[in-house]
Symmetry: C2
């Protein structure tokens, strides 16, 4: 009896271990529930009265999924204890995603056949020969190191230029450093970072941390090791860095131009400050969620441009959300190859296999479908226009946290929809990718070909 | 000298003939310019004063591209001569697209190598052994036949149930029959077909003609020949019919439910009339552009659902626009195969080749990109919200012709943008497809594979 039960348990564990997707979903769900419990405590609120389960659930999900959407002002609502819970959830969520997504390929490589293992090793050659423990250690050290440097820089600036007391400046520095590196976007000021729009000593370090944290550990690791030899970079690093540079440049140009003379946003700033704030506004959709200009006052066309940047998001296996710059970049390469009439999709003297193209397509289509259905549902629940609803849905899906201001007033059903979107947006891509990569390919025989007309 | 010039001309002709894309673009441009000239004549306007070049250009483009967007009310603005010009342009544009797109595969098959010819014949097996002249004859006979049947049905209804004089009823029948079968959406009543919302004897024949005309000739031909044996259908016909049925059913359900109690649209109608109008509203985005309920009064979520239906559009090589139900259906199959972990994409015991998957992806991405950039540009030009601007852009791109009412008031630059969108939306997919299909695939050697992380 005991033996049978033991075997049963053992099979259950094995079964679970064979599906890392379930481990990831389970881990995040536990973190969200624990955070909800802690934030619902009266001690977590400044007022000493519980914030309520729904608000606690929304805030905990937003923190664990490093989103940054809020239904209450973080600095006003939560006590020091509540804020520490939030920063802890952000750190746990950010590290969790980074380590799980990075380790995933390694975990998989021990579970599949020889050919698959070789494939996985090829795609993550940066991790070859590196043990699981060492990978985790490297990620933790690098993350905490970056956060420490940013925290010191911010604390110094807050203390020296804005006259904050030393303890308060240090606290503000640590909170915003953790929030920035993990692309969480939680802030302690009700206007996010609008008061610092013209201050490069606050905006540039935060932007840099957001970009680095959003690249993803495999790319960071490779850049640290061989940043001088771009020719030796893997396809992942090439596409991530290339697409990131293009999107940041194009985003800065478009957003700065579109908002240049908008009296509610860039209008009152000096020329250089406009460019700084435009750059900051182009960085934050991937997918940090701070803002140094008033999102509500932005023009419709800027919201659309931000929607696109948010949907694309940041790098794979990092703290960024969205469909990822890799997916976007690969699809661009596929399209380009097709338009040039080339049989193969080649990126820097490497050929992109067909299955990867299909994975990129599937992830992009799933994202479009999820955003479309959610936007339709939310439009039916609230009286707002498509501009604002689409913005909020993409912000939640891509775990960005920028808001046109409607989230704070949403009815409970709409809040739960956003909670679900944040959760799916955070664990979904990793889970879907792992499911796709783990799947045994069964049908081996081939059917006769037939080419229908397309277009 | 003469010989040299002749050779030059001959080479020029050959060169042009080698690029059917240029023939198509050139033919449509000539038709638009001729139409603009005719409609700008004072005699074309009811008032006897020229409508102006911009209005004439917009209307001619809308007619040739079978779109149906208007900046002036068709029935009020144009004289009988002007209306005949419009119906002539619609017929020319509709037949032009049908014949050119259908013949394209045949034209190509004579120009490429043996392997390509076999491929093309395989994909258009319905046309095998059928001469060019016979194809054109069949298309013309079938089109005019359908239009005649519809014209008689409509004329009888207009005369018997609405008391129109016989001549007027016949004229109204012919105009709306041509407009419907060619998916043009031009109407002679200022409210389109809102007055007939509850009349199945007007709405159902028009909906049927729109659906048939939008299937595309290759599919129509196959259905006529073997509608009893669905198992023998080609992939093109299977995907077109299957996706069409799914989209019509889902569209009817979603739109009827979303507008059920909207006092501005379905609210005042009886139960059956609600379903009839909901069905009609779901048919028209693919891509006919008539409306039997007030588009302006529709809810935001219905606009979004209509946006999606319009973007997808109708069948390939027909009068419908959009990225085509084939493209959408194939991408759905690709995604489904990827999610199920299957190596190959199989549709009804036929394997879908990789290049076709890439073509579908490219066409969809080009469509998304064009709509995104155009929407951004139009948002910057006008004070309207994303709801309306996106609707108008997709309506123009997919040559639908539905409008939330902003087109009539657009500034000249915005009108020219829509003119360009209608033109590109009409000739673009055929041109892009022909360019993709004609291209010589050059790179034959293979590079080593590498799989970056996606998602
Ligand atoms: K975020
Ligand atoms: K139309």
């Amino acid at each position: 009896m005991t033996a049978v039960r033991l075997v049963g348990v053992r099979q259950g564990l094995l079964e679970r271990f064979r599906h890392p997707a379930q481990v990831i979903v389970g881990g995040f769900a536990v973190a969200v529930l624990a955070g909800t419990g802690l934030l619902a405590l009266p001690a977590a609120s400044e007022s000493g009265q519980s914030a309520g389960v729904l608000t606690a659930l929304f805030t905990a999900t937003s923190a664990v999924c490093v989103t940054g959407l809020v239904v209450v002002d973080t600095g006003t609502q939560w006590s020091l204890f509540g804020e520490l819970v939030i920063v802890g959830l952000i750190q746990a969520g950010g590290l969790g995603i980074m380590t799980l997504a990075t380790l995933f390929a390694l975990l998989v490589s021990g579970r599949l056949g020889l050919r698959a293992r070789l494939l996985v090793q090829a795609e993550t050659k940066t991790l070859q020969g590196v043990g699981v423990r060492r990978v985790i250690r490297n990620i933790v050290i690098f993350s905490l190191g970056c956060e420490a440097v940013l925290a010191v820089a911010l604390a110094l600036r807050f203390a020296l230029a804005y006259g904050e007391p030393v303890g308060r400046a240090a606290y503000l520095g640590v909170f915003h450093a953790v929030s920035a590196f993990n692309n969480a976007g939680f802030g302690l000021w009700p206007d996010s970072l609008v008061r610092f729009a013209a201050d490069p000593w606050v905006c540039l370090p935060i932007a840099l941390a957001v970009i680095i944290g959003g690249l993803g550990f495999p790319v960071i690791f490779e850049l640290v090791r061989s940043w001088r030899r771009p020719r030796a970079w893997s396809v992942l690093t090439r596409v991530t860095v290339g697409t990131t540079v293009v999107l940041l440049a194009a985003g800065t140009l478009v957003l700065t131009a579109a908002e240049w003379d908008n009296p509610g946003t860039l209008g009152p700033l000096s020329g250089p400050a406009k460019v700084l704030a435009g750059f900051f506004t182009a960085v934050m959709p991937r997918t940090a969620g701070f803002n140094s200009i008033d999102i509500v006052a932005m023009r419709s066309e800027s919201w659309l441009a931000t929607d696109i940047l948010m949907f694309i998001g940041g790098g794979s296996a990092g703290t960024a959300g969205g469909i990822k710059v890799t997916t976007f970049g690969l699809l661009a390469f596929v399209m380009w190859a097709e338009l040039r009439g080339e049989d193969r999709v080649n990126i820097g003297h490497r050929r992109l296999p067909g299955p990867v193209q299909r994975q990129a397509l599937t992830i992009a289509l799933l994202g479009v479908g999820l955003v479309a259905v959610s936007t339709f549902a939310l439009l039916a629940m609230v009286p707002h226009t498509l501009d604002k609803v689409l913005f909020e849905v993409i912000s939640a899906f891509a775990t960005v946290g920028l808001s046109t201001g409607i989230t704070a007033d949403l009815p409970p059903a709409a809040r739960l929809l956003l909670v679900a979107l944040m959760f799916i947006g955070r664990v979904g891509p990793v889970t879907v990718f792992s499911a796709l990569a783990l799947r045994e390919r069964t049908r081996r025989y081939e059917l006769p070909e037939e080419r229908p007309i397309v277009g």
